[in-house]
Symmetry: C2
Subunit: 340 residues, 2 copies
């Protein structure tokens, strides 16, 4: 399998990206190949001082970098030789089997969607992130690919995340919840209400109805479907709140019982370890015709390594074929998509 | 001042509501009057066994109850003698100066909006909730009144929450953030992008630009403006995550160091106390022509008591007059509202 990695993506690129890639080699097969994409000179000079199995890594030159503040489409147009644009093109030409980037999410989504196109039957791709909770992993889709969601998109996120959850997280018959502002049928905006009808009408989907923000952590569903704006806020709020709460606990402990703070430190570390979404190695862009992972901008080597392993699992388990199959079997037809 | 309280609203009604009302009497002036609204017989029989300053409390009969699963408008139409419908009517007829309910939020919003009407210049009311964070209180508006937001609504939430934050939370020149999916100007959906233009154009607003979910807890703004669907998810997610995280900590401690768990218990209790939004006594429905508070369904006596005190502060400080004044001074005209 050939996996292209954006060597310049993220806050700790290229060092942490390269380190993560080299760490992954040990866990891949001999026939697997990693392609680091970025300014050739920079990457090769870094590689020259590192020890790794030669032949497992190659470099493709991509001298440009799209900044975090650039508009996606415009950035891609102005910089066709940026690392994200180049990995997307490699995927398009079937020169690689998977692409991974920790760069600008909007640029990744635009590039992957434009070059790789959608899977047959998919109207819009969605980003799926796995939240580890005390009740088990919950897959949230979409967290930012699509901020102008139609009912059919939400429905398809439910289908795609179900396949993902079943085959990669090994959850038999995953429960799908639809994010709304109340559990009752009458609650929610028009898009959500119509998506609910589509979900209800699909007897293959284990649809448990509306969920609310709090339900993500209550073990009532394995999948939370929402439109990209809401999902993105959920993702970042969770990050900020966990951080804020631990800071509050630390502050409180230091003021009252500094000794207890010391003892508590390893407990916090253990919780961070157990409920760390970096374990899942980034987020999958479900629905594109290929294997595409988008990692957090703050990804360090461990996340990149895990993303590489996740992309291999996704690819070898032929998740995309299973998604296409599910969508071809559903009673919710693309014809409805045009209407909705 | 006359304050009408929905005696049947919330999971612990009527006992906790009545208890909260009687607790508040001690902290109000002699001239203040509380009007408990609900089935007269039930309320009077509860009151008969309690000790309180007679004359400070009266009862208005409202025999019907609208369930949590009823559609707001229909529920109000079918049950004009429900406690929420009756307190809204009392406000409309100027028979009371403030209304408080811990009942169905959708029904409250519909009833208060319909009967009390909007303040001059306000297009749509929004619910404002105060999040206590380690960096200080952050007011979030809207958390569920308006799930079909227009740019002008978001802009006005910023104006109204600024007045609230300044005069009731005593934050000089509060910083207004607009919830989006990235800090850069180009990020967000069309409604958010156009709301940003309106906010930028108002030199009286201390607008700090886009914020992301994580920023609520990072001290970058005093106000987070968002549309009702997003705000409602934020509110409930926060509740669920805090609960889930404390459960994870407890679980971890009990497994590894049960002794530490015992010592940690009062720390958790202190954090819950410090960062408890019940302290603020529910959420204000900003923008209606009157004083209306909506409390959490799980409100107990303390929240009801605090809501009564908050309604008095809101009313006596003439927050609505200040909002009207601000909106009349703004360069963002209602004419824009029709366009947007």
């Amino acid at each position: 399998m050939r996996i292209a990695i954006d060597a310049m993506g993220g806050d700790y690129a290229p060092d942490e990206v390269i380190a993560g890639a080299l760490d992954a080699i040990e866990l891949l097969d001999e026939t697997d190949e990693l392609i680091l994409v970025g300014p050739q000179q920079i990457i090769e000079s870094r590689l020259s001082s590192l020890t790794y199995r030669k032949g497992a890594v190659s470099v493709v030159d991509a001298p440009d970098v799209i900044g975090m503040d650039e508009a996606p489409i415009e950035g891609l147009r102005r910089k066709p030789k940026s690392s994200i644009a180049v990995i997307a093109k490699l995927a398009k030409r079937d020169q690689v089997d998977a692409v991974i980037s920790a760069g600008n999410t909007g640029v990744c989504v635009a590039a992957f969607q434009m070059r790789m196109r959608n899977l047959p039957g998919v109207n819009r791709p969605g980003i799926a992130v796995v939240f580890p909770t005390i009740e088990g992993p919950v897959t949230i889709c979409d967290v930012g690919a699509n901020i102008a969601c139609k009912p059919i998109n939400l429905y398809q996120y439910g289908v795609m995340a179900s396949v993902y959850s079943k085959h990669l997280l090994e959850i038999e018959n995953p429960r799908v919840g639809l994010m709304s502002i109340g559990q009752e049928d009458a609650k929610g905006n028009e898009v959500v209400k119509r998506a609910r009808e589509l979900m209800k009408s699909d007897s293959n989907m284990n649809f448990v109805g509306n969920i609310e923000g709090r339900d993500i952590f209550r073990g009532v569903c394995d999948i939370a479907v929402c439109e990209g704006f809401v999902g993105n806020v959920v993702l970042k709020l969770t990050e900020g709140l966990v951080d804020g709460l631990f800071r509050a606990i630390k502050h409180e402990l230091m003021q009252e019982k500094p000794q207890l703070a010391m003892e508590f430190k390893p407990v916090i570390a253990r919780i961070y370890g157990k409920y760390d979404y970096n374990e899942y190695g980034g987020a999958l862009l479900l629905g594109v015709n290929g294997t595409a992972l988008i990692c957090h901008g703050s990804s360090q080597s461990r996340t990149i390594r895990n993303a590489i392993l996740a992309s291999k699992k996704y690819y070898t388990q032929r998740i995309n074929d299973k998604i296409t199959e599910c969508l071809s079997e559903t009673c919710v037809r693309t014809a409805d998509a045009q209407v909705n």
